[in-house]
Amino acid sequence: MDRTQQNDIVRRASAMADKASSVADDFAQLLFPRTDVTFNDRMRSNARQYLRGVVNQIEQRICQIATRDLGVAHELLLSIEKDGESQSFALLEPSGLLNKPEIVQHLFVRAQQSELAARLLQKISQEDLESTLTRHLDHADPAVAEAAMGLLVAQSKTTGAAGEGAISLADLPPEIVYAIVWPVSAALARLSGSPGMRLQQAAERLLAEHDESASVVRKAERLAQLLEQGETDSNPHPMKDGLTLFVARLARQCGLTSDQIVTFTAEPDMARLIIVLRAADYSVQEAQSIYIALDSGENILTAATYGELDRDRAVALVSRWAAPDAFQNADRILARSYLGDDRQ
């Protein structure tokens, strides 16, 4: 064993000693999950790849701005700008800086979107799915047609099809870009030893140039808003609207967010999605068809099950889920103080 290897073992042993107390926590999370949501290996792999890709792109963009626009001539930054090989991920991953609730929630939603897109592609061809939006291009309302064109263009700019886990900085929610940009710029400053001020400026420029209106999600939400404001011909359906627009339209109909709708599809039996459909007064046939399109094929929604759901109760539940997160969390904590509270 040479000296380098010995040093490596020493470094890893020291690092492990610092984290030893967390091993039981990690194992406990696996043994005793707090929800019934299952995360398959594909989702974990997708989420991990996606996070790495996002960090890479942000890092490369910061280096581009620093070296090209601000004239920083540092070898490491120039190399990242040129080759795009991430340096900061290895530093950030174990630090816990990427383990923030908003980032993890976003990763989960993206991973679940990929799952849904894959399921959808088993039932409809990629070509048909991509052509769903073209039907709005001839819409009588020019605002709708224009928004549909905007969404088509935004989707086409994304590498690969929507939901395939493709990474585009333009599609990242501003809050997520903000949450990742600063740790990345700090990591770059540490790794390169270059002045932090310049990298901060580069990060600020990256934030300022980000245009949320160009993202696929916002384009879909705007189209959904215009469609729902006008005379819509029918309820949304994933195979008629495509996944992104379907989610946006359903979310708008129910006063929920697109992320909530995607999250509901990951839950056992998609129970909350069924409640949402019932609250929005979808017919049995529509609900069953949507369920089949989004389900992995293991479950069924019977007409009797759906038909027996009390719509008033469903509306009340959805209205509670539409409340601000802070209110829902507080309500949940307070409810624990009262025995016999059976609210869900």
């Binding site: 903000y178 300022a208 949320e212 209106s213 005379e231």
Partner: protein
């Protein structure tokens, strides 16, 4: 009432780093002021102000839906924020690219004009009173449209309450703002006609009791439940419309009214499926009532002494009224009704109620037999002698050999289960002819159908 969302130019505004609204286009300034803001003070539209704060905190340009509300309406917007680079202390620019207003009054408020048209179609009269039961407006069957003599008088000075009820019981119901059902009342003067009244309390925008709206149906004292009590023969040969019809309408009306009350949960909460059953009962009741009405009409038009009134009518106005009555049914099937310009006039002569009945029948048929999402077009034509209105649909059309058969009694062309009785077109054509006009059809298989009602033209004064 809603405003269009398409803005010729975005609505713009500027907000400084302290949240003060520095400048705003008139639409945004109006909203800011209505939300309690003043010029040069912090932006007072909560969700918009929050978006500006978030945009500044992140140092990023955002693009999001925003909702706002003032005393008059709810507004849905799509807003984009733009920060100036590199000086973040410069004002943030707001650009509102979509703006749609929904009046608070839009929400399922009943349309009195539409209600009146329904009443006239059914041959019912209406009386509107104030909180002290003084008559504000009255339109009774067979009476002049503007009967000014009764306006301002107490309802109880014009009508006698017929036992078993009494003035005191009626007044108790009024005092408690309760609906008044099946109250028989007789005119004190004139023809002393007998009416059955249904009264609905009216609540104004501030939540205060504002009076009653009564609907009044003519009552035949010789017909009805009382006669069954005496064991007298109810049906005298063919007098369906005069005897059996009214006797059936009254209980059917009660069934429908009660089922609708249950389904709309006016009397309290109810399980969803039970409300749905009640809706089915109301729907079946309405179908049965339609059938009774058709049979009554059939009996009426076949009587030798059947006559129609020669009112001065405007076919374009009638088309809009008929379309208004069926707007909900059309919307249920995503069908668009394309109507002639309401500013135009097409004067004709014919009985108002019967002409409306024909148009409702034609548009109702078009909705029933058209594919969902299609268009039904009403167009007008006319010459010196006749004024015509056509209802064109995009349905399956009618084969040439069937085009005369559909005007025959009980002819359904083999269809069933769609709520029709097979009498509508027969009655409509007979009514059109009784008014000196005609009802014709042009159609071909898979080409849709066009029904044209022609009535004698009337010169405008």
């Amino acid at each position: 009432m809603t405003t269009a969302r398409k803005l010729a130019e975005p609505v713009r505004g500027e907000v400084d780093s302290d949240g003060l609204l520095l400048s705003a286009d008139p639409l945004l300034m109006r909203l800011h002021l209505r939300c309690g803001g003043t010029e040069g003070r912090p932006l007072a539209v909560p969700e918009l102000a929050a978006l500006c704060r978030l945009s500044r905190r992140l140092g990023m340009n955002l693009s999001r839906p925003v909702q706002a509300s003032d005393d008059d309406c709810r507004i849905e917007m799509w807003v984009e924020t733009r920060l100036s680079v590199p000086d973040r202390d410069q004002p943030l620019s707001l650009s509102i690219i979509d703006w749609k207003e929904y009046s608070h009054d839009d929400s399922d408020m009943p349309d009195p004009a539409r209600d009146r048209d329904f009443d006239r179609l059914e041959g019912r009269g209406t009386i509107r009173t104030d909180a002290a039961l003084r008559i504000i407006a009255q339109q009774m069957p067979g009476k002049p449209a503007r009967n000014v003599e009764v306006i301002g008088q107490s309802l109880l000075d014009i009508y006698d309450v017929i036992p078993p009820s009494a003035h005191t019981r009626l007044l108790e119901a009024v005092a408690e703002r309760q609906p008044i059902r099946n109250q028989r009342m007789r005119e004190k003067i004139g023809a002393q006609q007998l009416f059955v009244m249904q009264g609905h309390p009216l609540i104004d925008k501030t939540g205060l009791f504002a009076g009653y709206r009564f609907t009044a149906a003519q009552d035949d004292p010789e017909a009805g439940v009382d006669r069954t009590m005496t064991g007298e023969k109810l049906i005298s040969d063919s007098l369906f419309g005069l005897q059996l019809g009214p006797a059936l309408r009254q209980p059917l009306g009660k069934i429908i009214a009660n089922a609708e009350t249950i389904s709309s949960k006016l009397e309290g909460p109810l399980r969803g499926d039970y409300a749905s059953y009640a809706k089915d009962i109301a729907s079946a009741g309405r179908h049965l009532l339609d059938l009774v009405n058709d049979l009554s009409d059939l009996e009426a038009i076949e009587r030798p002494d059947f006559t129609v009134a020669g009112d001065d009518i405007d076919l374009i106005d009638l088309a809009h009224r008929a379309a208004g009555l069926l707007a909900v049914k059309a919307a249920d099937h995503q069908i668009r009704l394309e109507l002639p310009d309401q500013q135009r006039k097409l004067p004709a002569r014919g009985e108002f109620r019967r002409s409306l009945q024909i148009l409702v029948n034609l548009i109702g048929n078009a909705i029933r037999y058209s594919p969902d999402g299609s268009v039904i077009r009403l167009s007008v034509s006319g010459d010196q002698d006749f004024a015509g209105i056509s209802v064109s649909d995009q349905g399956a059309g009618i084969a040439k050999e069937d085009q005369e058969r559909i005007f025959e009694k009980f002819e359904r062309l083999g269809r069933s289960g769609d709520g029709g009785s097979g009498l509508g077109l027969f009655i409509s054509r007979r009514l059109a002819r009784a008014m000196g006009g005609s009802l014709t059809v042009e159609s071909a298989a898979d080409q849709g159908s066009t029904f044209t009602l022609s009535l004698p033209a009337r010169e405008t004064p």
